[in-house]
């Protein structure tokens, strides 16, 4: 039973001890909260620290453009399909397809105009991030290649955006705090940025094609210097800068690679090979990511084997070429043979008359046949080919009153298709002939027809007639040449005004 010996310590001493404990436990607390990044993610600038990941950010955009339905057959976002239905290229066979009908009847609304706007801005955001990240990076071997590709992609997306929507918001950085409040600006400003970007891309990219590792390849799946020139030629043409359009188209047409001509029209005999992967007409193509459906995809979801059934409808085939497009193909006035493009780039199918009452008469419909292989790797999605450059140069020359030069370029395309040279002589006739030629050469490709109608100012005249031919209650007014923006976007950004007319 001994007594406890009690230490007499002052309160101060104890508090000191206290503080020591607290200090010990707080040392390095900031550092403690630096957690390792997730194993399946890369954070911030880390994405641009090496070539493989930098290229990965570009791969992602190209992969989405190739597989997301922008230029291929997926129904949800298909540019070519929707604008083909919207204009005079396609007819809708299925009266109940809720996605196609608003386009075919020229009655799209903010709710039915698809996701083009948001999908393109997503890729522009990705490109902006890549431009910022790659520019800042100091450790890349192929910095110029990736940066050039990013600039090209941004220009390509803005080009389509402005051509669908007219005035658009220009997002030139990835900062959402800026981007979320941006208003629409005049089209000209979009073209200014597009041209700036493409000139940069031209300076950064090489004559050769590169692959995802920056190694020279024959595959034309990534943009090179001439791809930038091809889009530049188009952008200058669309914005009315004829001399530059001619120069840039000329750049492409006369391009050489390793001493040989880089791009050239195939002979008439090989017109069925224009869309093959190895075609020398191709300036830039997207390599699709989907494996089994190339054929369906390229031809805008129109199946190779027509699966219509006997009961009077086209079954799963929902879309065919419009009769007016089929009729637009000329014949050779001397030999009276069909346009080779009609022979090789179209195919037809006939459905027997139905055994129902009343009888639905037998029908023949035409379908695009530019891509016809079902085998992976045989064909890619072509965005730029040399024929368009000839037509661009032809138009640029015609606009500058170099009529002979224009005719020469136009006739190259016509002759290759087995047609005689044009007999137009006046400037206005030659220009119209070129536009008409673009219609049959570039049909169902990347919305060319829609854009040509818009920029040539003929859209109202053409469409007022087309809506009557469609006969499904379609109506037209001039405001419809620009698409509406989804309501969510308008709600989320008060500065963003809906497209006039919607």
């Amino acid at each position: 039973m001994k007594s406890n010996h009690i230490h007499k310590k002052t309160l101060l001493k104890e508090l000191l001890l206290f503080l020591v404990i607290v200090l010990l436990s707080t040392t390095g607390c900031k550092k403690y909260l630096d957690i390792p990044l997730p194993v399946n993610k890369i954070a911030g600038e880390g994405a641009y620290s090496n070539d493989k990941s930098s290229a990965g950010t570009i791969n992602n955009i190209l992969g989405i453009l190739a597989g997301g339905g922008y230029f291929d057959g997926a129904l949800s976002n298909n540019f070519a399909l929707y604008t083909g239905l919207y204009t005079d290229e396609l007819q809708n066979l299925n009266g109940t397809n809720t996605a196609n009908i608003p386009f075919y009847t020229n009655a799209i609304t903010p709710g039915t105009s698809g996701a083009l706007w948001s999908n393109l801005y997503k890729q522009i955001y990705n490109a902006n991030l890549a431009i910022e990240g790659i520019t800042a990076s100091t450790t890349l071997q192929n910095k110029n290649q990736w940066l050039g590709e990013a600039y090209f992609i941004r220009a390509l997306c803005f080009f389509y955006l402005t051509n669908y929507y007219g005035d658009i918001a220009i997002t030139s950085s990835s900062n959402y705090l800026i981007n979320k409040d941006l208003p629409r600006v005049p089209k000209a400003e979009a073209y200014k940025l597009i041209i700036e970007d493409l000139l940069k891309a031209q300076g950064l990219l090489t004559n050769e094609y590169k692959d995802g590792n920056g190694v020279v390849t024959t595959n034309r799946g990534r943009p090179n210097k001439f791809t930038a020139a091809a889009l530049l030629a188009r952008a200058y043409l669309y914005s009315g800068d004829w001399p530059n359009a001619e120069t840039q188209a000329n750049n492409v047409i006369t391009a050489t690679n390793g001493g040989a001509t880089a791009y050239g029209l195939l002979p008439s005999a090989d017109i069925d090979k224009v869309f093959l992967a190895a075609s020398t007409e191709t300036i830039f193509n997207l390599v699709p990511t989907r494996v089994n459906q190339d054929y369906v995809a390229y031809n805008n979801n129109m199946a190779p084997e027509l699966a219509y059934n006997a009961a009077g409808n086209w079954g799963s085939v929902t879309i065919a070429l419009s009769p007016s497009l089929v009729n637009a193909f000329e014949k050779n006035t001397t030999t009276l043979t069909d346009d080779l493009r009609k022979t090789y780039w179209l195919r037809s199918a006939t459905m027997a008359a139905s055994n129902t009452t009343p009888v639905i008469a037998a029908q023949t419909n035409y379908f695009p046949n530019k891509y016809r292989s079902g085998i992976i790797g045989t064909e890619n999605i072509i965005l730029f080919r040399i024929a368009e450059q000839y037509l661009i140069r032809a138009e640029a020359r015609a606009r500058q009153n170099n009529l002979d030069g224009a005719k020469a370029d136009l006739d190259r395309i016509r002759n290759r298709a087995g047609l005689n040279g044009t007999n137009a002589t006046l400037q206005i006739d030659i220009i119209n002939a070129i536009i008409e030629e673009r219609r049959v050469e570039l049909f169902t490709e990347s919305s060319h027809r829609f854009f040509d109608l818009k920029r040539s100012g003929t859209i109202d005249a053409v469409m007022n007639n087309v809506v009557l031919q469609k006969g499904v209650g379609a109506t037209w007014n001039s405001l419809k040449q620009n698409f509406p923006i989804a309501t969510n976007d308008i709600l989320a950004n008060p500065n963003l005004v809906q497209t006039p007319g919607y």
Partner: protein, 1078 residues
């Protein structure tokens, strides 16, 4: 010889120890004694009387006193005091803590209930005796009478029940915060598998909803109302802490897409609850912290309330073995009564009559007039009509001395399934605890651990959803007479019962361990550290073998093996200092920190198409050679890893003035890896005051019936960080490849401004006890405002994203009343009866939501209404003319609203939802009665809830009479003839009844009051009288019968009013068992 010598001689011979005051003995003359063959008592009697001394024997101790015996000890400091603590039955109580009030001097009684205090040099010192479940006693040393025998009383009121707080404990008497505790005793009265089920209705302010009766299913927990904008299930889950270690937050398994989920359920119902992996028998107490005073100390994690669980600890005393064995049955709970064949055909026939469709012999009428139309199967019974067995056994062995004590325990449970298919859920676990104190309690160390392994191989399919209700009663039987699956009538793999052949096995292991250290270097100061480690891992296989498919059809067998691990380390050092301050004041200061490091791993391997079912257990053996496809596409593997760190510092200041005024301040600074640099740290604090006004002199004379009265109030803040990791930076993940090269995509828009969710809580209450604890009433009013909610805000596409995480400008207000009334109605020697009732009246309101309807599209939110509700069409009953459901649209037009071209107009999904229904509970609570007569006790507990739910008929998208679908007997109240005023629309198979029903499902008509009272648990037990138990060489023996979810009283239609048809209705349980202590 001197008395001193004599005593030491007797000590040597007898083994007794003498206690006496030296000055008393020294003053005595020498004695001459000759003692032979006498007992110690006789010896002492012989000589002590002459010396006017008396003695008393307490066990082995002989205490010598002067006569008269009862004298106050006039003391001179310093002294030590030796005494003994007994319970009401005069049995010694080991493990009672004896504290010198307002100091850190504590001792614990030994096996014999004896204690020896440290040296006390203050003769005004007060000794405090505390033991869980017993009323705390305080005695001034000056009032101690020799022999020092303290009798502790079983807690007659909850007043002195120990309440666990964040970093310590208090009593209900002195608490400044609002918390409720459930003890092991309460848990044992309910046969529930998950302790959350026990908590249902027991805790005012805590709403517990069992979402599915299948074992391992999740619960919806809400402390003081919904505080998030996300609707419904599991939106704002409280933080659960077991022995200082936080349980993994969020539903389990962490990988929601992995195989170990019930496949045919909503996401809300997938995964279980972490508490499934803690055996209720290992829980000592469970405390629910609600207000700012109790939760602010948890800072960023305390916004939605906190549940503290402490596991059982070793107790000093002779070693005791406790065994508890229970065996019982579970069966299906409430489910809709579906139409029988006769009724079904009647409605089907009537449907065609109403539609004007002639019934022919065509195939689509075969359920009316086909050859098998008279068949009848009760499909609910077929799918889930089995009686499942539940068997549990747990044992613990505990004992030790006041210096070192231990507990070891083990438990095993097995619950089979009430559904078709083999399999069961089996848990087995071990737990232990060791406590050691050395150097007069200067240093304490305790180590506890528990391990539970759960194997679930029951069919991972909730058969109560879908076919069990909707299969027409005359459908083909699911099984052929030989017991095999019926593929004859159910062709193309359409037999739902095939799900019983899914191979499933989920093994989840949960290891919990805590090391506690406490060092008391000097009086008043104590340094503590708590180190916790939790490791939970799970391995699950889910496979569809060939027996899942119809023989002879083309099928691809599939198998997924998934794994996840959660590892959590918590280190919590803290120091506390206690000192007297002022004349009557006690100041406690506590400060410390928390370091938490959590790491989650998950991975899975899926394989498709196997040569043989035997290979399903290894998904890497799937087909690698399917032609035309990517050779590796048949084997898919995933891996994910997510670290999460957390850091916090806290300080607590408590000042108690004369047990009258108590002030409590909490402060916390928290850092989390979920936020950007500028917002990593957040500060949270609270202030609370308690005023024990019954301790005022004027009060005692004024209101003698009130034996205790306390007013308390608190205000403070807490936060939440319920967002995914890395939201504040831009991250990239692997995405679309191109030309065979990998793609990388930004998947998150950085927001460096993300910060803590903010919750400001105010709480005020009054606690009154009447007639010395016979009646106690606790009433609380609370009010909380939640703001800065982390939500996704809509962004324009120009940003590249459609939404981003932001701190929402919305403000949600929760307020309400909580009452708890405990009465001891009868308190006789043989018969006792007590009643507990609690009631919560919650209110919930969306106060502000800037941007609602424009930048924020949140269809079901209305300013000024509850956040948990739905907007609906205005239902106005069945039209007596047409027999169809009718609605009123926003323009006041009344119609069935059939979509054109089938009808004239349709309802607009956004604009015509003019009505709002609040789905949060209006009130809920529980009512418990405990009776005991001699050795028999009976506990009856009812829970009750008032809320609104959708009826079964209101959730069916098809009208009664629709081909191929059965409905409930509620549909018999249908409209039949023109002019009928009916509750249910006409039977119909046509398009107009279909559309009208479609509108009905999202209208006010589909909802009704789901108010119910449920006999949630009943427990009757008989304890063998002590004498009898002793003769059987038992410490005690109790035989009991238990039941849960035995009776539901409700006007609510067909479904269970608790889970509202979300999944399998809560099961009924009947068990019996015995509890033996050796």
């Amino acid at each position: 010889m001197s008395l001193e010598t004599l005593f030491s001689k007797i000590e040597k011979q007898s083994g007794y120890t003498f206690f006496y005051r030296m000055e008393l003995i020294k003053a005595m003359p020498n004695v001459n004694v000759n003692l032979k063959n006498v007992t110690v008592e006789e010896a002492l009697d012989q000589f002590l009387g002459k010396l006017s001394l008396s003695y008393s024997i307490i066990d082995n101790n002989i205490v010598i006193k002067s006569v008269p015996v009862q004298t106050n000890i006039k003391l001179l400091a310093p002294r030590i005091y030796i005494g003994k603590v007994l319970d009401e039955k005069d049995q010694p109580m080991p493990g009672v803590s004896v504290r010198v009030k307002n100091t850190m001097l504590v001792v614990v009684t030994n096996q014999e209930g004896q204690f020896i205090t440290p040296v006390i040099n203050d003769d005004k010192a007060i000794l405090q005796f505390t033991y869980i479940g017993y009323t705390m006693q305080e005695i001034a040393v000056s009032e101690l009478k020799v022999p020092i025998v303290i009798r502790l009383k079983l807690t007659s009121s909850d007043l002195d029940q120990v309440q666990i707080t964040a970093y310590g404990s208090t009593t209900k008497r002195l608490a400044t915060g609002n918390s409720t505790t459930i003890t092991a005793e309460g848990i044992a009265k309910n046969p529930a598998r998950n302790v959350l089920e026990v908590m249902q209705g027991q805790v005012p302010g805590l709403f517990v909803q069992q979402l599915s009766g299948l074992p391992g299913s999740p619960f919806n927990l809400m402390i003081r109302g919904q505080q998030t904008l996300t609707n419904g299930f599991r939106a704002s889950q409280p933080l659960i802490i077991v022995d200082g270690v936080a349980l993994p937050s969020g539903p389990l398994p962490l990988n929601q897409n992995a195989a170990n989920i019930r496949e045919n359920l909503n996401n809300e119902l997938k995964g279980g609850n972490p508490l499934d992996y803690i055996d209720p028998s290992t829980i000592e107490s469970l405390t629910v912290l609600k207000d700012a005073d109790a939760t602010s100390i948890y800072g960023s994690r305390g916004a939605y309330g906190v549940i503290l669980i402490t596991t059982k600890k070793g107790k000093a005393g002779s070693p005791k073995l406790n065994v508890n064995a229970t065996s019982g049955l579970t069966m299906r709970g409430t489910s809709p009564e579906m139409l029988n064949t006769e009724q079904y055909i009647m409605l089907r026939t009537e449907a065609y009559k109403n539609d004007g469709t002639p019934i022919t012999s065509a195939a689509n009428f075969s359920d009316i007039n086909g050859p098998n139309a008279n068949r009848y199967t009760d499909f609910q019974k077929e799918y889930a009509g089995y009686h499942a067995s539940v068997n549990r056994i747990n044992a613990s062995y505990s004992g030790g001395t006041s210096d070192i004590n231990f507990l070891i325990g083990g438990n095993f449970r097995k619950q089979t399934s009430i559904q078709i298919g083999e399999g069961s859920v089996r848990d087995g676990g071990l737990n232990f605890n060791i406590n050691n104190s050395v150097k007069n309690n200067k240093f304490n160390i305790s180590l506890s651990g528990s391990f539970l392994s759960t194997t679930d191989d029951a069919v991972p399919y909730d058969f109560s959803q879908g076919n069990a209700y909707t299969s027409p009663p005359n459908s083909a039987p699911l099984f052929l007479p030989d017991g095999s699956l019926n593929w004859v009538d159910y062709t193309n793999n359409s037999n739902p019962a095939a799900a019983q052949n899914i191979i499933f096995k989920n093994i989840t292991n949960n290891l919990f361990s805590t090391l506690g250290l406490k060092y008391t270097p000097v009086k008043g100061l104590s340094l503590n550290a708590n180190i916790g480690y939790n490791y939970m891992n799970s391995k699950a296989i889910r496979a569809q073998p060939s027996t899942y498919y119809q023989p002879g059809t083309t099928f691809r067998t599939t198998s997924t093996l998934s794994f996840y691990t959660v590892r959590n380390i918590t280190i919590e050092p803290n120091a506390s200092y206690l000192t007297a301050l002022g004349k009557k004041g006690t100041l406690t200061v506590q400060a410390g920190g928390t370091l938490q490091n959590q790491l989650n791993y998950s991975s899975s391997i899926t394989g498709n198409d196997f040569l043989s079912d035997a290979m399903l257990y290894n998904p890497t053996f799937a087909d690698r050679l399917t032609p035309g496809a990517n050779p590796q596409a048949n084997i898919i593997s995933t891996y994910d890893q997510a670290p999460n760190k957390y850091l916090g510092f806290f300080g607590i200041i408590n000042y108690n003035w004369d047990n009258k005024y108590i002030l409590n301040l909490n402060g916390r600074r928290d850092g989390s890896t979920k936020f950007g640099e500028n917002y990593q740290f957040g500060k949270f604090c609270s202030i609370a005051l308690a005023y024990l006004f019954s301790n005022e002199k004027w009060f005692k004379s004024l209101l003698p019936v009130i034996s205790f009265a306390k007013l308390r109030g608190s205000i403070g803040t807490s936060g939440g960080d319920g967002i995914p990791n890395y939201s504040f930076i831009t991250t990239y993940s692997q995405s679309t490849p191109y030309q065979g090269s990998l793609g990388l995509q930004a998947d998150n828009l950085e927001n460096k401004d993300l910060h803590w969710e903010h919750n400001r809580k105010t709480d005020g209450g009054i606690f009154l006890e009447f007639f010395n604890g016979r009646i106690s009433l606790d009433a609380t009013y609370y009010d909380s405002k939640t703001s800065d909610q982390l939500i996704n805000q809509r962004l324009p596409s120009t940003t590249g994203f459609t939404a981003r995480s932001i701190n929402s400008p919305a403000i949600i207000k929760n307020n309400g009343w909580e009452f708890e009334l405990i009465t001891k109605n009868l308190n006789g020697k043989k018969f006792t009866w007590s009643t507990r009732i609690n009631l919560t009246l919650p209110k919930n309101k969306l106060v502000a939501y800037p941007g609602l309807g424009t930048t924020i599209i949140d269809l079901d939110k209305v300013i000024g209404k509850s956040v948990y509700g739905v907007k609906l069409y205005n239902y106005v009953g069945v039209d007596p003319e047409t027999g169809l459901h009718n609605f009123i649209n926003r323009n006041g037009l009344k119609s069935a609203f059939i979509l054109p071209p089938f009808g004239d107009a349709a309802l607009d999904i956004n604009l015509d939802k003019t009505e709002y229904i609040d789905l949060s509970p209006k009130f809920y609570g529980g009512l418990g009665n405990s009776f005991s007569y001699k050795n028999i006790t009976l506990d009856v507990f009812f829970t009750f809830t008032n809320r609104i739910g959708r009826t079964y008929l209101g959730s069916q998208s098809f009208p009664p009479g629709f081909p191929g679908l059965n409905t409930t007997t509620a549909a018999l109240k249908r409209w039949q003839n023109k002019g009928d005023e009916a509750e249910v629309q006409r039977a119909g198979a046509g398009i107009s009844s279909f559309f009208a029903q479609g509108n009905y499902v999202t209208s006010t008509g589909a909802y009704e009051k789901a108010t119910y009272a449920r006999l949630s648990s009943l427990n009757i037990s008989y304890t063998l009288p002590d004498g009898l138990a002793k003769r059987l060489h038992l410490g005690s023996l109790t035989i009991f019968g238990q039941g849960s979810n035995l009776l539901t009283i409700s006007k609510y239609g067909d479904l269970d009013p608790e889970n509202l048809g979300a999944g399998m209705a809560p099961l009924r349980n009947f068990s019996g068992g015995l509890r033996v202590s050796l």
